[in-house]
């Protein structure tokens, strides 16, 4: 596919008195695009507009040539992986993925077959008949990813898919996104941390306070952000061992044990940090159960960019 996949033209979105999107014009093409911004920047609002969950207050939204709010069949060409952790009570991974596949227009038997294949491929074969509410964060994200792509959409939209996910699951999810993009799927993925996406994405859109702040290739945007120290919070049953392993990483300038499960690390080279962390974890036999990049990172960078320091 060539040309625009997503077009927002002077899009405005208000929630009562709150202005979530402010006259935003955006053109997203094929490939993987990262939608990056701090909390309340407007990322979820853009995703809501693109997936047809809400109409704009003003302006125009076109996705794959149609209006996702009014065009019901069009939504069958879009896959959506929400940030929300909530699913129907008691529903297993297999039931969730199968049922949502059926809702996307797949025949029930075919949906069941595809769900089993997809969950097995992504490493949830043993857990697919357990309730999703018993899944770890990483397992839930994988199940949500499966439901989003079961109907083989042309556009996949993911809202913070790596938030809180353990390092190995991150690698798997990013690899899966690259594979899907290689097969021609366009992908829009949001995050409040550019560095966790940068190995997978082609282009970056920076959003701040409902406005487009910058857009470009990963390299262009990274140059703007890398001057700032970046902190990462990790959860592990062995925080001391983890802290000492982290200090071996190039670019790590500080490590702090917060409590008996939590370690904070500060790095000046986030790209390398996220790239080598899985190897360190597996090589040293450590367990990292969750990984977050606090939103304050990006807030600091955005304050810097808004002031014009980024050029």
């Amino acid at each position: 596919m060539t040309g625009s996949v997503i077009e927002l033209t002077r899009a405005v979105k208000r929630y009562g008195p709150v202005l979530a999107l402010n006259d935003l014009t955006l053109d997203v093409g094929p490939g993987i695009t990262g939608l990056v911004g701090p909390n309340a920047a407007g990322k979820s609002t853009i995703i809501g507009l693109v997936t047809g969950l809400m109409p704009p207050t003003a302006g125009k939204v076109r996705v794959l040539g149609g209006d996702p709010w009014d065009d019901t069949p069009l939504r069958g060409r879009i896959g959506y992986c929400p940030d929300s952790e909530r699913v129907w009570p008691g529903m297993t991974g297999r039931q969730l993925v199968t049922r949502l596949g059926i809702y996307s227009g797949i025949e029930p038997a075919e949906a069941a077959r595809r769900a089993e294949d997809a969950l097995s491929e992504i490493g949830l074969a043993a857990a697919m008949d357990k309730p999703v509410t018993q899944y770890s964060k990483g397992m839930r994200q994988k199940a949500k990813l499966c439901q989003a792509v079961l109907h083989r959409p042309e556009l996949l939209v993911l809202d913070e898919p790596l938030n809180g996910v353990d390092p190995l699951s991150r690698v798997e999810i990013l690899k899966r996104l690259r594979d899907m993009a290689g097969q021609g799927m366009s992908i829009l993925v949001s995050s409040h941390v550019l560095h966790e996406l940068e190995t997978a994405i082609d282009r970056v859109v920076l959003i701040h306070r409902g406005r487009l702040l910058a857009e470009g290739t990963v390299e262009e945007i990274r140059d703007l952000l890398d001057e700032h120290p970046h902190s990462v919070r990790l959860e592990s049953p062995e925080p001391r061992k983890l802290a000492s392993a982290l200090l071996q990483l190039d670019g790590v300038v500080g490590v702090q044990i917060v409590d008996d499960r939590t370690v904070d690390a500060t790095t000046r080279d986030p790209g390398q940090f996220y790239g080598t962390l899985p190897d360190i974890v597996t090589g040293s036999g450590l367990t990292v159960e969750a990984l977050w990049s606090p939103d304050s990172n990006l807030e600091a960078v955005f304050r810097y960019l808004v002031k014009g320091g980024g050029g």
């Binding site: 929630y15 309340a40 979820s44 609002t45 995703i47 809501g48 997936t51 047809g52 969950l53 809400m54 109409p55 019901t72 069949p73 069009l74 939504r75 069958g76 879009i78 959506y80 929400p82 940030d83 929300s84 952790e85 909530r86 699913v87 129907w88 009570p89 008691g90 049922r99 949502l100 059926i102 809702y103 996307s104 227009g105 439901q147 809202d159």
Partner: protein, 260 residues
């Protein structure tokens, strides 16, 4: 495109059955049936037992139970997916939004209709007995109509206000139930009044002197109406509420910040 309404009806049934509210509703219905069973056993003779059935239909129990069950199931049809944060999965699919709502509304009506029909049948048999089976079965017609009307009312309410259960309880307790029994024209502004007319018209033998004696000092203008008038009024009310609720539901956006 998937067959939206049946899929959404099935999802509603699958999820609503697992909720505590359904257990509470079920327990209330069992309790009501047991009370009337005991009263039927203790009653002196067939006339008194039939009077108990009239009491069930007209005196409040059927109406109150129906309204409260409709409140639970109707509000769930309109608001559960949004409140549970699962609406994002449904509304981002190629599912028709009006049919999503109508499928859930139909399922809510179906659950309520089955529960209330069984309750009516049990209470009718425990009190009036098999000799009045034709009346008991005819009374199912207004009960089914009432289930539809009240489910539509409370689902509409759930789309209009945040705390639909509390507001619905107020509507039932302070408006619909008391005003349907007052002998002034305000009862025309309730749904229960035409429903009582319908029950009276299709299921009761109002030439029966025993029946007249039992109910000669109560809600009296109910009996002035033709059942067809009541039926048409209820049908129009149902259609109007369903149309408005469907339109509201179809145009209601999902705020992603509230689902996280």
């Amino acid at each position: 495109m998937p067959a939206t309404a049946p899929l959404m009806a099935r999802l509603y049934l699958d999820t609503v059955v697992r909720t505590k509210r359904t257990l509470i509703v079920g327990l209330v219905l069992v309790l009501v049936a047991l009370l009337f069973a005991v009263a039927g056993i203790l009653a002196q003779g067939p006339k008194e037992r039939l009077g108990l059935y009239y009491l069930f239909l007209f005196g409040g129990p059927a109406g109150i139970v129906l309204q409260f069950c409709a409140l639970f199931f109707g509000a769930a049809a309109a608001a559960d997916e949004v409140e549970n944060g699962t609406a994002v999965y449904l509304l981002s699919r190629p599912l028709s939004r009006p049919l999503t709502f109508l499928g859930r509304l139909a399922a809510a009506w179906g659950v309520l209709a089955v529960l209330m029909s069984v309750l009516n049948l049990l209470v009718g048999l425990f009190t009036g007995g098999p000799t009045h089976l034709h009346r008991i079965l005819l009374a199912e017609i207004p009960i089914l109509v009432g289930c539809g009307v009240y489910v539509a009312l409370f689902s509409l309410l759930a789309l209009l206000v945040r705390n639909a259960l509390a507001v619905g309880a107020v509507v039932s307790l302070l408006w619909d139930f008391p005003l349907s029994s007052v002998p002034i024209d305000l009862h025309l502004l309730t749904l229960r009044y035409p429903l009582l007319c319908l029950v009276r018209g299709v299921a009761m033998d109002y030439e029966d002197p025993d029946y007249q004696a039992l109910w000669s000092s109560g809600m009296y203008r109910v009996f002035e109406q033709s059942p067809w008038t009541s039926f048409v009024v209820l049908l129009l009310a149902f259609a109007a509420m369903t149309v408005v609720a469907t339109r509201l539901s179809a145009r209601r956006p999902v705020n992603l910040r509230q689902t996280q």
